[in-house]
């Protein structure tokens, strides 16, 4: 198992390195090419610099404090905080990511070189300052917001980072050309102003100003960068001191419980399970990421095609979101691992457990899916789509709520050795992406297709109640089957989880 895990980690690292190299070279090229609209080059480079700076700040926060020199190692050493702070800041520069960032930020030099030697030299200074800013901001961000080390939590991150990278990559491929197009056409003064006014854009502003021999602005922009770096360096030692003297629990995620407030959920076994599940949705990294991916893919795919003028896909964004969110949560019991024992030792808890999980998913996904569907269909102006989405979305939500409970108790895939999803679980999610929409929507789809072929609005609208009725029966039937199975096969389901955990 360990070998498989480290193999996947290497593939992840390789993919990431390849991706980052591509991004760096693309950024550099963005500084080299010619733009029709004056100042567009600076806008594009400022935007890309913002991306790089965000990457420097968000990367370590997402992956945990994974630097070779972890701050917590120094907790017990008798070193003055200020000296340690400066030494650690120096050590932060020994980072291989700097090579990629140097290539990317060199876009400033390329941009300047188009306007002459002085602007190119300004680009050199701006590149250096941007690099320093990236490293310092990243280090300070980890100390200020970063999670303290916890191996149990750390396990979450490898798998999730890979999933996020792939999703964002596929989305960025649609988003980046679009933003670039708007900037290079000079169609988006607001966007251009925003990316220039942020510290990440000051380097590009300086280079642009140098090209126009506006030396006052050059001095202001570069001075601003230097001042931003100075401010972060000054803030660093006290932040580090706070981090090092923090108690083991002080910086960790808090899990508050509202004790004085009136409980919103019913004070019953069912309410207890719904409450527990809703808390898990908001706190479990795996669940949050699955919801985020469903949302990003579902919504952005429609939005991106709409931005390039094709609004036919927009009404179906909610359906796409719902089907991904359903497929991702077809492994209720597997993902929670051996904690099923708690349900099995409480008399009669199987029924509320299954129902509570279904309700929680329904409450998290249902309203969001419906809202996206209605809002996007209205915005798109595609009036023909109303019977399609009104027949599809409710059927999908109600039908899959029951269906995913049934799939979750029939096929139980425990977590992998490193706490991530097992290959079988990933395969199941992919299959569910096909099976769930087919099973929940085929009666409605048949009527819709027949209505479209026969040009019959009555047939098309009939799909709405038929779709709902089918989904209601399907959801109820699957839910009952799921309950019965957990009641009769609870120990056998638990045994599968126990085997995969040991």
């Amino acid at each position: 198992m360990r070998r498989a895990t480290s193999g996947r980690r290497w593939i992840g690292i390789l993919l990431l390195a390849l991706l980052v190299t591509l991004l760096a070279v693309t950024t550099l090229l963005a500084g080299l090419v010619h733009y029709r609209y004056p100042g567009a080059g600076a806008d594009v480079v400022a935007t890309l610099s913002l991306g790089w700076l965000l990457g420097w700040i968000a990367g370590p926060l997402l992956t945990g404090d994974d630097a070779a020199l972890r701050m917590d190692y120094f907790k017990l050493l008798p070193i003055p905080a200020r000296r340690l702070a400066h030494a650690m800041l120096g050590a932060a520069f020994a980072n291989v990511s700097l090579v990629f960032s140097l290539i990317a930020f060199a876009a400033l030099i390329a941009l300047g070189a188009r306007s002459g030697v002085a602007a190119a030299l300004t680009g050199v200074v701006a590149t250096a300052l941007d690099l320093v800013l990236a490293v310092v901001a990243s280090t300070v961000a980890v100390a200020a917001f970063g999670p303290t080390i916890s191996s149990r939590r750390g396990r979450d991150f490898g798998t999730i980072l890979l999933a996020l990278t792939i999703t964002l990559l596929s989305l960025a491929s649609g988003l980046v050309p679009l933003i670039a197009k708007r900037l290079t056409d000079g169609h988006s003064p607001v966007l251009a102003a925003v990316v220039r006014i942020l510290p990440s854009g000051w380097g590009a502003v300086a280079v642009d100003a140098a090209g126009r021999s506006d030396w006052g602005l050059v001095a202001l922009a570069l001075g601003g960068l230097a001042a931003a770096i100075g401010a972060l360096v000054a803030a660093w030692p006290p932040l580090l001191a706070r981090r090092l003297t923090m108690s083991a629990r002080g910086g960790r995620q808090r899990a508050h419980v509202a004790r004085t407030g009136e409980p919103v959920l019913p004070l019953t076994p069912l309410g207890a399970v719904i409450g527990k599940e809703l808390r898990m949705y908001s706190r479990s990294v795996l669940r949050s990421v699955m919801l985020m991916i469903s949302f990003l893919v579902g919504v952005l795919v429609g939005v991106l095609s709409a931005l390039s003028g094709k609004t036919e896909g927009l009404p179906f964004a909610g359906l796409l979101f719902t089907v991904i969110a359903a497929a991702c949560f077809t492994n209720f019991y597997g993902d929670d691992g051996t904690s099923l024992w708690l349900t099995l030792v409480v008399p009669g808890a199987e029924r509320p457990d299954v129902r509570g999980r279904v309700w929680a998913w329904f409450l998290v996904v249902g309203p969001a899916g419906l809202l996206i569907t209605v809002a996007f269909t209205a915005i798109s102006g595609q009036t023909w789509a109303w019977p399609w989405v009104l027949a599809g979305e409710p059927a999908m939500i109600i039908g899959s709520a029951g269906l995913l409970a049934l799939i979750g108790v029939v096929s139980v895939n425990g977590p992998d050795a490193d706490g991530g999803p097992s290959p079988a679980r990933v395969l199941k999610t992919h299959l569910a992406l096909i099976v769930i929409p087919v099973v929940t929507m085929f009666p409605a789809a048949a009527l819709l297709a027949a209505g479209a072929a026969g040009h019959s609005p009555a047939l098309r609208w009939l799909a709405v109640p038929v779709g709902l009725a089918w989904a209601a029966w399907l959801g109820r039937y699957s839910l009952q089957q799921a309950q019965r199975r957990l009641q009769t096969q609870g120990p056998e389901i638990f045994a599968r989880l126990r085997t995969s955990a040991s």
Binding site: S150, R152, R153, R249, R252, Q253, R254, A255, H256, V257, R259, P263, L267, T268, P269, G271, A272, V273, G275, K276, R279, M280, R283, S284, D336, G337, T338, S339, W341, L342, T343, L344, V345, V346, P347, G348, A349, P352, D353, G490, P491, E492, F494, A495, R498, A501
Partner: protein, 256 residues
Amino acid sequence: MNDGGSVPALQFAGLTKRFGENVAVDHIDLVVPPGSFFGLVGPNGAGKTTSLSMAVGLLRPDAGTVTIFGRDVWADPVAAKALIGVLPDGLALPDRLSGREILLYLGLLRGMSREVVLQRADELLRVLELDGAEGTPVIDYSTGMRKKITLATALLHSPKLLVLDEPFEAVDPVSAATIRTILQRFVAAGGSVIFSSHVMPLVEQLCDHVAVIAKGKVLASGPLDEVRGGQPLEDAFVHIVGARAGGAEGLSWLAS
């Protein structure tokens, strides 16, 4: 607290479990008297966890019965499970929840009223010295803290029998002392406890009854003094199990 005076708190009759060719539990008969502090001892792989899992409804036996105060765990699970509190070894919890949230969830799941659950949760967290970690999710708990919060889940509904699998394994001495005191108070108040362990001095200090199991069979069972027969439990255990304490031969190069 005792239910019916002499009805055993827990009784195994012909209990059997096979995993493929391996017979993990082989026709075990065992009686845990009500109000007793019962130690289940045996070497690793003896079948302790397997037996206790079958006793609480987590593992289905191939043959035999388990009764808790006369209720069959597998034929009448609702009645039987209401009487027991369970502390398993090495199983997960909903670990993004804080200790208090887990107790509130479980209490409501058992149909208890919110006021009672919150009041008991407060007391349990205080007595188990977990009240300092109120807002901490269980994922950030130490091993000792996890054992203690699991013990709290077992005690919350005021059970009559506690079934504890290795409650002192990997627990620091301070937490172990806390757990010990709470268990002794539980028995003094009329509750019954069965727990598995391979720490003989601990079993000797706590228990009034003991059973020795090895290779899925009960080799000796009864009041502590009868089973150990005047010698330390550790010696009696080695004698009963028929094992020879190894480590005396070979290794001549060691520290030479």
